[in-house]
C-alpha cells in the first residue's frame, strides 16, 4: 500500500486547497484553524484517492472532510474551554454539510493570497504561508525547499497565522483603494518564491526548480483572476522567459553557466513563445511597470539566436526606463553591463565607479563580479583576476563562488605564459 497520487491528481489537489480553504474560512471565520483542517484534509486525500480512486467531485470531497475536521476541532476546543472555565459554550451546529458556498471560489484564492502576503508579515513568513495555504505544499515540502528543519518551518507558519489573527485582517477582498497596493505585495512574494527557486541563496544546487515551478503556477492563477492587470501579466512573462533557460543554466556538475555561454538549443522554445506572446499582448495596454520591463529585457535576450546577436542598445534603453522607476542597486548594475555591451567596456566601468558610493552595493560581491567582467572586456586581466577573487570571497552562494574562482583561474593561466615569455 505505497501508492501515491499521480502528478495530475496532485496538481488537482493543490488547485483545490485554496478553494476549500476559502469555503472553510468563510463558514468558520478562523483562518489558522481552517488552514490546519484543510492541510489534514489534503493529507487524507493523498492517502485515500490513490486507494479508492478520485472522488466524483474532488472539491466537495476535500471541503467536506475539512469541514468535518474543523467541526471536530471546535468541539474539542469548546470541551476544553468548558473544562477550564465551566462556562457552557453554545453547541456547534456545523456538521450539516449538505450545501456549501460555491459562488466565489475564485475570489477565495485571491482573498487568501492577499491574506498570506499581507504587508504586516515578514517576507519569510509570507512566503511560507503562501506556499502552504495557497500552494497546498506540506510543511515538510516547504522545509525541504528552504533547507531548514521541519520544526522551524512549522513554527514560522504558525507564527504567520498568529500575526494574521492578531492583525484582525478580515477574510475579504481589500477595498478598491487598497487593492493595487496589496496586489503589489502579492506579486512581490511570488517574485521572491521564484527567485528562491531560481538562484538559491544557500544550498549546494543553484536551482531548486520546484519553487520556480510553484511560483509560476501561482502567478498563472493570479493572472487568470486578474487578466486586466498588466503587471501580473508582466511578472508571469518574466518568470516564463527566465525559467525557459533553466536547462542551459547549469552544467553537469551543477556549475553556473553565464548567459553568453549557454547552449541556446537547450532553452525552452515553447515557454519563450508563451512569455513573448503574453508580453506582446500586454505592453500595448499602457501603464508599463517594472515587471513588464524586466520581462521585455528577458525577451530580448531570449530572442537572440546567438549571444553576439543580442540587441544591447534595446536592452540599454529598457534599463534606462527601469532606472526611472526603481532605485534598486541591482538594476543599476545591470544597466552598467548593458551600457558596456552597447557602448564599450570603458563606458560601463565609468558607471560602476559612480556606484562605489552606493551603501547597498559597496561591499556586495556583484559589484566586484561585474567590474571583473568589464575589466576583462577592457583587456585589464590582472585587474579582472583581483576582482573575480574578491567577489568569490564575498558571495554566500557556493556555485557562484566556484564560477568566480574559475574565471580568475582561467585568466591567471592565460597570463602566466605571457609573463614568462
Amino acid at each position: 500500500m505505497n501508492r501515491s497520487l499521480d502528478a495530475r491528481s496532485q496538481d488537482l489537489l493543490r488547485e483545490l486547497v485554496p478553494q476549500a480553504l476559502g469555503a472553510v474560512v468563510r463558514r468558520f471565520r478562523d483562518f489558522a484553524a481552517a488552514e490546519d483542517a484543510v492541510q489534514e484534509a489534503a493529507l487524507a486525500a493523498a492517502l485515500q484517492w490513490p486507494r479508492d480512486g478520485l472522488p466524483e467531485n474532488p472539491r466537495a470531497w476535500l471541503t467536506q472532510v475539512a469541514f468535518r475536521r474543523m467541526a471536530d476541532h471546535i468541539r474539542s476546543e469548546s470541551a476544553r474551554r468548558r473544562r477550564e472555565s465551566e462556562v457552557a459554550i453554545e453547541a456547534v451546529h456545523t456538521t450539516e454539510l449538505t450545501a456549501f458556498e460555491t459562488a466565489s471560489q475564485e475570489d477565495d484564492t485571491l482573498v487568501l493570497l492577499f491574506m498570506c502576503c499581507h504587508p504586516a508579515l515578514t517576507p519569510a513568513s509570507a512566503i511560507a504561508l503562501t506556499l502552504r495555504a495557497v500552494g497546498g505544499l506540506t510543511t515538510a515540502e516547504i522545509a525541504r525547499a528552504f533547507l531548514v528543519p521541519e520544526a522551524t518551518m512549522a513554527q514560522r507558519i504558525s507564527r504567520a497565522k498568529k500575526s494574521i489573527k492578531n492583525s484582525g485582517v478580515p477574510f475579504q477582498l481589500p477595498t478598491v483603494e487598497e487593492r493595487a497596493q496589496r496586489l503589489r505585495s502579492v506579486l512581490h512574494v511570488l517574485y521572491l518564491i521564484f527567485n528562491e527557486g531560481y538562484t538559491s541563496s544557500a544550498g549546494p544546487e543553484l536551482r531548486r526548480g520546484d519553487l520556480s515551478h510553484e511560483a509560476i503556477r501561482l502567478t498563472r492563477i493570479v493572472h487568470s483572476l486578474e487578466p486586466g492587470d498588466t503587471e501580473v501579466a508582466g511578472l508571469l512573462a518574466l518568470m516564463l522567459l527566465t525559467d525557459a533557460r533553466r536547462l542551459a543554466r547549469t552544467g553537469p556538475g551543477g556549475e553556473l553557466i553565464p548567459l553568453a555561454q549557454q547552449d541556446r538549443a537547450l532553452w525552452d522554445k515553447r515557454q519563450i513563445a508563451e512569455g513573448v506572446a503574453l508580453l506582446s499582448a500586454t505592453l500595448p495596454k499602457g501603464s508599463v511597470g517594472p515587471y513588464q520591463l524586466q520581462a521585455a529585457i528577458a525577451a530580448v535576450h531570449d530572442e537572440a539566436a546567438r549571444a553576439d546577436e543580442t540587441d544591447w542598445p534595446q536592452i540599454l534603453a529598457l534599463y534606462d526606463l527601469l532606472m526611472r522607476m526603481s532605485d534598486n542597486p541591482m538594476v543599476k548594475l545591470n544597466h552598467a553591463i548593458a551600457a558596456a555591451m552597447a557602448h564599450g567596456a570603458t563606458k560601463g566601468l565609468e558607471l560602476l565607479d559612480a556606484l562605489d558610493a552606493d551603501a547597498c552595493l559597496a561591499d556586495h560581491h556583484r559589484l566586484d563580479a561585474v567590474r571583473a567582467h568589464l575589466l576583462e572586456l577592457a583587456g585589464d586581466h590582472q585587474g579582472a583576476i583581483e576582482r573575480y577573487r574578491s567577489a568569490a570571497g564575498k558571495t554566500g552562494n557556493l556555485p557562484e563562488r566556484n564560477y568566480l574562482l574559475k574565471q580568475a583561474a582561467r585568466l591567471s593561466s592565460e597570463l602566466r605564459p605571457m609573463n614568462e615569455r
Binding site: T122, R144, P149, I157, R159, P204, G396, L398
Partner: protein, 134 residues
C-alpha cells in the same frame, strides 16, 4: 540567510569556569540561554543549537601512516575555545548580529554581562542528510 554564531570561552584550566560559579549565578546564566533559545525557536529562526564539552575533553586527531587515528590531548596554544554554536536563518545580517549581541551579553558571576566574543559567519552551503539518501 543562514548564519552560524560561534561562542568562544576562555580555555582557562581546561574546565568551564561556570562550574565554579555560585549556584544562583549559574542558574541565572542558564535561564538566560533558555529564554533566548526559546525566543529564537518561537520566531522560526533557530535551525540548530549545540553546546560542546569542556576543553580538557577535546582530542586532536591525525591520521597515522596506516590511516589509524593518532589522538593528542589538549592544545594550549590558543586562548579561546569553541564552547557552542547556534545556526539561525534570518532576514538580514543585522538580525544575526543582534542575536549574537544578545548571546554575548549573557550574565556571569554577580549578574554582570560576560560580553563574550561571538563569531558570526554566513553559511555558504547546507545539505540535509535525507536529501543525500534519496
Amino acid at each position: 540567510m543562514k548564519y552560524i554564531l560561534m561562542m568562544s570561552a576562555p580555555r582557562g584550566t581546561g574546565k568551564y569556569e561556570i562550574y565554579s560559579w555560585p549556584k544562583k549565578d549559574w542558574q541565572a546564566h542558564m535561564a538566560y540561554w533558555d529564554s533566548l533559545n526559546r525566543e529564537l525557536s518561537e520566531s522560526g529562526e533557530l535551525l540548530a543549537i549545540e553546546a560542546l564539552t569542556e576543553p580538557d575533553q577535546a582530542r586532536m586527531v591525525l591520521a597515522g601512516k596506516d590511516g589509524a587515528p593518532i589522538t593528542d590531548g589538549v592544545f594550549p596554544e590558543s586562548k579561546e575555545f569553541l564552547a557552542g554554536y547556534w545556526i539561525v536563518d534570518v532576514e538580514t545580517p543585522e538580525r544575526a548580529y543582534a542575536i549574537a549581541a544578545r548571546a554575548s551579553a549573557a550574565p556571569g558571576p554577580g549578574g554582570a554581562s560576560l560580553n563574550m566574543p561571538i563569531e558570526v559567519r554566513q553559511v555558504m552551503m547546507s545539505v540535509r542528510p535525507e536529501d543525500l539518501l534519496r
